[in-house]
């Protein structure tokens, strides 16, 4: 029995392929998705390696969800047990790292989460709840709310859900490297989305031209991600490891290889890796995941090559790297000046910064209209009131308001937020009103 270990294992693995869950039988997000990956991991004997320790996923609790999300109209109405296990598995991975049972952890599980926003009316981009965000809030709740966390999302799609959740959160640096939103769902993730008034410059988006590959990805990693992390000094780095940037992925137009992904992880050395998308289930996922695991273990991954001999790999279009270099230069400029910038010029001088958005839920075909008001406060990041109207095709429109109190909310904002919640009545067009107070872990609802 391995009860007496002198050194802690290098890598914890939480593997939950949800072999009995699918969005629909022929959907990309289906039972079979991690089958070949499982076969490859087992055949490689990776779980037997001395540096690897496997963990059983826990099931996320109601409060684990409520710290991050407002599920509308209710938790059971929008999600399944598989979601709770995927989110719980991420928490298991995070706990294993925070409690030093392992040095790093990889949550290799589905369904994915990075398109799920704070307000959840249904599923979008195959995601219902945000696994990474849930684990981050779990960490801040249980291991210290001052912990600084960095997310580097390398899925081919813009991590718009995580961005939404941490947009005004000074404790979380959110960097997303994705295929240019003008050419791919969800369409967002432009250079100028840089965070709210309470966390300006802590949201960084690098839209990569379609056809970008290892060279572009690694250039951004070396020249933007690593220097920014070096300065931010996070307590924890998370890689949102979507693998749909692989050259053989059927849904995207990127040209990343298993070797490129391994090198990214070797450079980044994340504490936690969370699987996001990736739909080349036979030709990419088995190899990319093995490569990531080996890179995290500090082992030789040079033999992890796609068996097609990279037949379908296309060189990046001319000018791709040049464009990426310009983006990196621009964002480094923003990063360097983020504290000196006059926020009033960006967010105005009104006491509340107000933004209006339309959010489309492609998976569930829901259209949401959102108005977000952030209190401009110099003592905290500012409480928020979010008004949301959503409609699923011919169903009745549902209209809600959410009062959100962030971590380290100041006394003034707390008083104002609490009275705002008192004032808001579920009448005159509002179906429900919610209060989300992460610090006190108070989650109220009235209808």
């Amino acid at each position: 029995m391995d009860t007496e270990r002198c050194t802690i294992p290098q890598l914890g693995l939480v593997f939950f392929p949800a072999f009995d869950w699918a969005i629909s039988p022929d959907h990309p997000e289906r039972e079979e998705r991690l089958l070949y990956t499982r076969d490859q991991l087992v055949e490689e004997g990776l779980l037997d390696l001395p540096g690897v320790m496997e963990f059983r996923p826990k099931v996320a609790t109601e409060n684990d969800l409520k710290r991050t999300h407002i599920c509308i109209p209710s938790i059971p109405a929008v999600l399944t047990k598989a979601h709770l296990i995927a989110a719980g598995g991420c928490i298991t991975a995070a706990k294993a790292v925070m409690e030093q049972k392992v040095k790093k952890a990889f949550a290799l599980l589905r369904p994915p989460g990075h398109h799920a926003m704070r307000l959840v009316h249904g599923a979008r981009g195959f995601c219902t709840i945000n696994n990474e965000a849930i684990l981050i809030e779990y960490i801040r709740k249980h291991y210290g709310s001052h912990l600084k966390i960095a997310v580097v999302d390398t899925d081919a799609h813009h991590a718009d859900g995580s961005q939404d959740i941490f947009y005004n959160d000074p404790g979380v640096l959110h960097i997303s490297l994705h295929q240019d939103g003008r050419t791919l769902y969800p369409g967002t993730g432009n250079l100028d989305e840089l965070g709210g008034p309470g966390a300006y410059g802590l949201t960084l988006n690098i839209p990569l031209p379609p056809g970008s590959g290892d060279r572009e990805l690694l250039f951004v990693t070396k020249n933007l991600v690593l220097p920014v992390l070096e300065e931010f000094q996070p307590d924890l780095v998370i890689n949102g490891a979507g693998q749909d940037n692989h050259y053989s992925d059927p849904l995207t137009h990127m040209q990343v290889t298993a070797q490129g992904y391994a090198e990214l992880n070797k450079l980044l050395q994340p504490d936690l890796v969370v699987l996001e998308g990736g739909y080349a289930i036979e030709g990419a996922l088995p190899y990319v995941n093995v490569a990531i695991i080996l890179a995290l273990l500090g082992m030789d991954y040079s033999r992890v090559l796609e068996p097609d001999g990279q037949r379908d790999l296309v060189p990046p279009p001319p000018g791709a790297l040049e464009l990426v270099k310009k983006e990196v230069a621009y964002l480094r400029g923003v990063w360097a000046k983020r504290r000196e910038i006059d926020l009033d010029k960006i967010f105005g001088t009104a006491p509340y910064y107000r933004r209006e958005r339309r959010i489309y839920y492609d998976t569930d075909d829901i259209l949401e209209h959102q108005v977000d008001q952030i209190k401009r406060c110099n003592k905290c990041s500012g409480y928020r009131v979010i008004y949301s109207r959503a409609q699923k095709r011919v169903a009745r429109e549902i209209s809600v308001a959410v009062v959100h109190l962030p971590w380290h909310v100041c006394a003034d904002c707390r008083a104002e937020a609490e009275s705002a919640y008192e004032r808001l009545h579920p009448d005159g067009g509002l179906d429900r009103v919610y209060l989300q107070d992460v610090e006190k872990e108070v989650f109220l609802e009235k209808q």
Binding site: M1, P25, E32, L35, D39, G45, D48, K81, P307
Partner: protein
């Protein structure tokens, strides 16, 4: 009448048991025997134990005699690194570098790749196979292990290498091929398993020849005593395997590695044979001289190792009961560290009360039991001497030793359950079923069981049962075991192929679109039966079952292109119920 002799060659003692099987198929113990194990000569101990019980066989009506042998031969050979030099030929493909797989022996990598669905993505490079074999032969290798990554999904490369060996290297022993030993995935374990198998094959062959001679000699002696002709008795010899099943000895020549760790399996089979099945979670404790083996029954069935047995540091794919061995037994050392008594983990030797000179838990038992066995005075002296360091009376010291013994056993049991409860599972329903396994009952066997089991059970707060014939209940278990055999069926209707690696079978499906779950199950069951017949694991009452099953729809570009079936079918594991007198 049908008789079965069970022999368990343990670390300290060799136990034997003679069962007679009645018309209803139940076993009755006619005789138990015990001899000290001589590690330098397992045959003598085996023969000694055998001689003692064969007297009881009423040879007038002995039509069928089976001998079930559980030995430590292969386990010890592996642990001690004995056997032939092996040429291990592997093919890999994308993934972990062979150097990173941590093999404790040299491997020769040759070109050729099979992918996860069993498709050849690079052909086998025959010239590399040839030169690897030549080099190995030049270095003295006679045995060969051949293992390809994903070979259970397509054994083509392994079979081609076997052909080449037969034609071009007739001096080599028949190679061990990966796909024949296991249809499960896990390449490094499959390589270890085949390497060990190839390495000890000759030892097993020699052992089997000698055992056959020994048994024929015993049988001749039996006939001579009774005037009965030996030929009238049909003698079959089986070896016990790590999964508690038996394998016919002559067939075990090709699969020696499966006979490892039969000792812990014999204890579990003893518990199954001698108790009524229980729905609760039962801990089986076999307290021996040197070690205590701990196994777990859930719903009346033994838990199995998730991937396979681990022996001598080698992780294998050999099916095995879940069992953990701790250095705690009647002959363990007793030491005094930081004000506490500690038992084991090493063996002290024979107890003072039994003629040795070291203080052991057995001496403490002799003192507490006031000399119901052993030499009370010698036990008292050795405890008195030791109590000069610890303070207190010899009687108090004996109690402290008992307490430490039981506490260490309970700590080990609790550690095992903590591990079991963190076992990963892969589907929604499995995660949601509360798997808070906890010990609910103890079944004990082994020499010190009668004394220690009640105390351990008390400390753990659960009921207990000490097996009848507890001192040699593992031999009863060996006798009560029945054959096991399993096949793996993999059907890929998109590729139109069915593969059953254990049978060397890769066949094209005539009409893949019509191949469904029912057909797959039917084929798996038929194949399991054919395989059992082939390897000598078939018996008339044997039942066959599909034990594991996975079915996936394969969707490509929003169209269902086929189904994947993976099934394990087997002889349903069984045990002969033994009715105590």
């Amino acid at each position: 009448m049908r008789y079965i002799i069970g022999i368990d060659v343990g670390g300290t003692n060799t136990n034997a048991c003679l069962l007679v099987i009645d018309q209803g198929g139940q076993g009755h113990v006619l005789k138990m025997a015990k001899a000290p194990t001589r590690h330098e000569d397992l045959f003598t101990s085996t023969r000694q134990a055998l001689a003692e019980i064969s007297d009881e066989i009423s040879s007038a009506d002995c039509r069928d005699l089976e001998i079930h042998l559980s030995t430590t031969l292969i386990t010890n050979a592996i642990v001690e690194g004995k056997g032939d030099p092996v040429a291990t030929i592997i093919t890999t493909g994308p993934g972990l570098a062979p150097e990173a797989m941590g093999f404790a022996f040299p491997v020769s990598l040759v070109g050729g790749v099979i992918d996860h669905r069993g498709r050849e993505t690079a052909p086998l490079v025959m010239d590399e196979v040839r030169s690897a074999l030549k080099a190995a032969v030049d270095q003295g290798a006679r045995a060969v292990a051949v293992v390809g990554k994903f070979s259970p999904r397509n054994p083509g490369h392994e079979l081609a290498i076997e052909d080449l060996i037969q034609q071009e290297f007739p001096g080599l022993y028949p190679p061990t091929l990966g796909h024949r030993l296991s249809g499960r995935l896990n390449f490094p374990r499959r390589v270890n398993t085949c390497y060990l198998n190839a390495k000890v094959a000759r030892l097993q062959r020699e052992f089997i020849d000698r055992i056959r001679d020994t048994l024929l000699w015993e049988l001749a002696a039996l006939s001579a005593r009774t005037g009965q002709e030996a030929q009238k008795t049909r003698l079959r010899v089986f070896l016990l395997k790590a999964d508690g099943g038996t394998i016919e000895m002559e067939k075990a020549v090709n699969r020696p590695v499966e006979t490892i760790l039969s000792g812990p399996a014999a204890s579990v089979m003893g518990a199954l044979a001698l108790t009524e099945p229980s729905e609760s979670c039962v801990v089986v404790l076999d307290i021996g001289g040197t070690t205590t083996d701990i196994a777990v029954l859930v719903g009346g069935k033994p838990l199995a190792e998730k991937d396979g047995a681990v022996v001598g540091g080698f992780k294998t794919l050999v099916p095995a009961f879940f069992s953990r061995s701790i250095g705690l037994g009647g002959d363990s050392t007793v030491s005094y560290q930081e004000g506490r008594i500690k038992i084991g983990p090493t063996r002290a030797g024979t107890a003072a009360a039994l003629g040795g000179d070291a203080l052991t838990p057995t001496d403490a038992i002799v003192l507490t039991e006031q000399g119901s066995f052993g030499d009370y005075q010698r036990a008292l002296t050795v405890l008195e001497n030791f109590s000069r360091n610890t303070g207190g009376s010899p009687r108090e010291l004996a109690e402290e030793i008992h307490q430490a013994f039981c506490e260490q056993a309970v700590a080990a049991i609790n550690g095992i359950f903590a591990d079991l409860n963190s076992c990963p599972v892969y589907t929604v329903s499995e995660v949601l079923v509360p798997r808070g396994l906890k010990p609910e009952k103890i079944i004990g066997l082994g020499g010190p069981a009668a004394f220690y089991i009640p105390r351990i059970a008390h400390l753990l707060g659960v009921p207990y049962e000490v097996l009848p014939y507890y001192e040699g209940a593992n031999a009863v278990g060996a006798a009560a075991s029945r054959p096991t055999a399993a096949i793996t069926l993999r059907a890929d209707t998109a590729l139109g192929k069915v593969t059953i690696p254990e049978l060397d079978q890769v066949t094209d499906l005539a009409r893949p679109a019509l191949f469904d779950r029912r057909k797959a199950e039917q084929l798996a069951l038929e194949s399991a039966r054919g395989y059992a017949e082939k390897i000598g694991a078939y018996y008339p009452e044997a039942q066959f079952e599909v034990d594991e099953e996975e079915v996936f729809n394969m969707v490509r570009g929003f169209y269902t292109v086929g189904k994947l079936f993976t099934m394990k079918a087997q002889v349903k594991p069984d045990v002969i119920k033994v009715v105590p007198k």
